[in-house]
């Protein structure tokens, strides 16, 4: 039966490319090959970060005798990419992760504990270490971190005779006094996503609220503050749909006298030389209370690629990215704060504009430190509760209770 055989051959030939295509570039596995080239994956695909990291990674590669083959994907695509690479066993040698995602990936077993390579996170800010820790083991080192604080427009506050607020009461009074015409006293971001959760955390945590159960009087009181600010017109109702970049635009345009935002906005704000602003920690419930803000930033990990030599080299690169010099340099170039506590004094002396954030991060908390891989569910509950209360769907306590019960 020659024809049937031919048919079969042709069929298989036709199917082969499809079957290969389905595997998606599985050929470039890193199991084989020597340790002279390391693959690096991160999401710094925009300038200036793209160049800053390219430069730093190349220097680290050179110092350790390896060539860096770097891929930078858009932030939103990173996790999808990592999951693909997890299932096809093509994870890079050095992998950058947004710190709240580390525990998700570490839980799958795809990452190697840094202690396997003689690294440790001693001397790092506690919150930063918490974020990179899963089941008692540290899986990543984060060279720099950031957080959010209260930005204020110096000119507008001076004109209204208002001092930068330090407590919730002062914040309410100041915001009210600064609201006139189409200028709002305060802008913050409370959209239906994790950005909204992130912005609410300093208020919730500083008042003793906790993500394990958000249906508590402490969290409700923090939410009441936001509700009051929106209800008396000190903050726009648009906060429900504003991203942090939108908030920054409002502040930059002088339509908000104060805002909650992070240091990554410095370059945008500094581009406008007529704008005079400064930053203080987010106001706390009462005078003297400790402010607790959420920690941001990305952590560098060493995936389980199965090649010990390459992993050892990768660990050297991660260690190099976290060297004192690189922490200081990255902090300066990216308007972020080094994570080694011993470096902070020197860093602030060299970069006075980072003073507020250097203070904030020392008491800041990681989002996943307590709940780990369950954080996304809790974060969803938090922004849902916040949105329900801000839209007037229910008073804060009730809104948080509904959200907690899902």
């Amino acid at each position: 039966m020659p024809t049937r055989k031919t048919v079969l051959t042709v069929t298989l030939t036709l199917l082969a490319p499809l079957a290969l295509g389905a595997c998606g570039g599985g050929s470039s596995g890193s199991k084989d090959g020597d340790a002279s080239t390391l693959r690096v994956l991160d999401y710094y695909n925009n300038e200036p970060d793209k160049t800053v990291y390219q430069k730093t990674l190349e220097a680290c590669g050179q110092a350790n005798g390896v060539t860096i083959q770097r891929e930078a994907v858009p932030g939103a695509n990173l996790i999808a990419k990592v999951l693909q690479q997890s299932s096809s066993r093509t994870l890079p040698d050095v992998l950058m992760l947004d710190n709240p995602d580390l525990q998700q990936i570490a839980a799958s077993g795809a990452l190697a504990p840094i202690s396997d390579f003689g690294l440790s996170a001693d001397g790092y800010i506690k919150g930063v270490v918490d974020a990179s820790t899963y089941n008692g083991k540290v899986y990543g080192l984060q060279p720099i971190t950031n957080s959010i604080g209260l930005f204020y427009n110096k000119d507008l506050l001076a004109k209204a005779g208002v001092k930068p607020p330090a407590t919730w009461d002062e914040l309410k009074t100041a915001a009210k006094a600064l609201t006139k015409g189409d200028q709002y006293g305060l802008a913050f971001s409370a959209p239906a996503n994790y950005e909204g959760t992130w912005q609410f955390l300093p208020f919730m945590w500083s008042n003793g609220g906790d993500e394990k159960n958000i249906a508590t009087p402490q969290t409700a009181a923090a939410l009441q503050l936001w509700v009051d600010l929106v209800r008396d017109g000190s903050a726009s109702k648009s906060v429900l749909n504003w991203t942090q970049a939108d908030v920054n635009d409002q502040f930059k345009a002088g339509k908000a006298a104060m805002m909650i935002n992070g240091p990554w906005q410095f370059p945008v704000l500094n581009a406008d030389t007529a704008l005079h602003y400064d930053v203080v920690p987010t106001p706390v419930p009462t005078a003297g209370a400790t402010g607790i803000a959420p920690l941001g930033g990305e952590t560098w990990t060493i995936p389980q690629t199965g090649n010990k030599d390459r992993q050892a080299k990768a660990a050297k690169i991660v260690a190099c990215l976290n060297s004192d010099d690189n922490q200081l340099a990255l902090g300066k170039e990216r308007q972020t704060v080094p994570t080694k506590t011993a470096l902070l004094d020197k860093f602030v002396a060299d970069n006075p504009s980072m003073k507020a954030f250097a203070t904030i991060v020392q008491t800041a908390r990681s989002r996943t430190g307590e709940l780990g891989a369950d954080w996304p569910k809790a974060a969803t509950k938090i922004y849902t509760g916040v949105q329900t209360a801000l839209t007037g769907g229910a008073p804060p306590a009730k809104a948080l209770e509904q959200a907690q019960n899902g």
């Binding site: 389905a22 999951l83 077993g109 795809a110 429900l240 749909n241 839209t391």
Partner: protein, 315 residues
């Protein structure tokens, strides 16, 4: 009319062919061979994802699964979790309102424009192609631009309404009662070109003589539409509506771009919630379960369409 008759006859002529004595094995095999690419394509790109999605709905499928390959079976736990959550009933109602509202608006305006452009007037061709614009813009761009237009404080729409003393800054995207309406309006704007184009094509197939004959019988304007245009357009209308439902029920980018499902789940649909569960909460099992529910809803419409179509042919 002529078209319909041809369409009814053609299946018979093709059916005759297999009865020809040419069913020798090699030729038969060759015929089957030509089917292979299509079958392989369908199996790989439709069969596999659908089956995988159905299976995922019964598994505890998380980020770990991708590395370990372990996805324990959990029976109906994912389904009871997503159906039992407070968001589900809200998302179901929103999906229905969003779909019905969008389709009704797109279809009525699309049909009106199609009928309007049936007349030839200067620049009608240019205007008709400009009408396609919303269709050509990437959805994420449309979403972003509309988000600015609809902004409460500085949006163009509220500026206009304020200047015209019509309304005082309604919160299009921030009020739980307006957000769904705003999202529907934007989706109508996006869907008009599709409806108008297909319906316009359908109108071209209606012979001019029929209108002339109708006019002789005194049927012009609305009566001509009612007794000539509408009955002859019905097969096209069926296609437009079913495709519209299928496209609308799964709309994701527009809602994500405008409101992200907020405020307070006011614009959360089954599709956005499924996306959220899978790609924000990394609970791929629950996301798949919700996706499967959406597939079943779409299937119901497909069956309704097939039955309606069969009836139309029988008539």
């Amino acid at each position: 009319m002529a078209d319909v008759e041809v369409a009814e006859r053609s299946p018979l002529t093709t059916e005759d062919q297999p009865h020809k004595p040419a069913s020798r094995t090699p030729e038969r095999a060759l015929q089957l061979l030509f089917l292979v690419p299509a079958v392989a394509y369908l199996l790989l790109f439709f069969g596999y994802p659908v089956v995988k999605n159905i299976l995922m709905g019964f598994q505890h499928y998380t980020t770990s699964t991708f590395y370990t390959g372990e996805a324990p079976w959990v029976g109906l736990a994912n389904y009871s979790a997503v159906i039992g959550s407070a968001v589900f009933s809200k998302a179901l109602v929103n999906t229905a309102l969003f779909t019905i509202g969008s389709i009704a608006g797109q279809f009525v305006i699309g049909l009106a424009l199609a009928v309007f452009f049936r007349r030839k007037f200067p620049l009608s061709g240019v205007l008709r192609s400009l009408l396609l614009l919303p269709w050509l813009i990437p959805l994420i761009v449309s979403g972003t631009v509309w988000r600015w237009i609809l902004d409460q404080d500085n949006g163009a729409l509220n500026r206009f309404l304020g200047a015209a003393h019509l309304a005082d800054r309604p919160g299009w995207l921030t009020s739980t009662s307006l957000a769904l309406i705003a999202v529907i309006i934007v989706n109508i704007w996006i869907g008009i070109p599709f409806n108008a184009t297909i319906l316009y094509g359908g109108l071209q197939d209606i012979p001019e003589e029929l209108y002339e004959a109708a006019e002789m019988d005194g049927a012009t304007g609305w009566r001509a539409f009612r007794h000539v245009t509408w009955p002859l357009l019905r097969p096209v209308v069926g296609v437009v509506l079913v495709l519209g439902v299928v496209y609308t029920i799964k709309v994701l980018d527009i809602i994500l771009g405008l409101t992200g499902g907020g405020p307070a789940n006011a614009t959360q649909t089954i599709a956005t919630q499924s996306y959220h569960l899978s790609f924000q909460q990394y609970d791929f099992g629950q996301g798949a379960a919700l996706g499967n529910i959406l597939i079943i809803i779409s299937l119901v419409f497909a069956v309704l369409y097939l039955r309606a179509n069969r009836k139309a042919v029988d008539e």
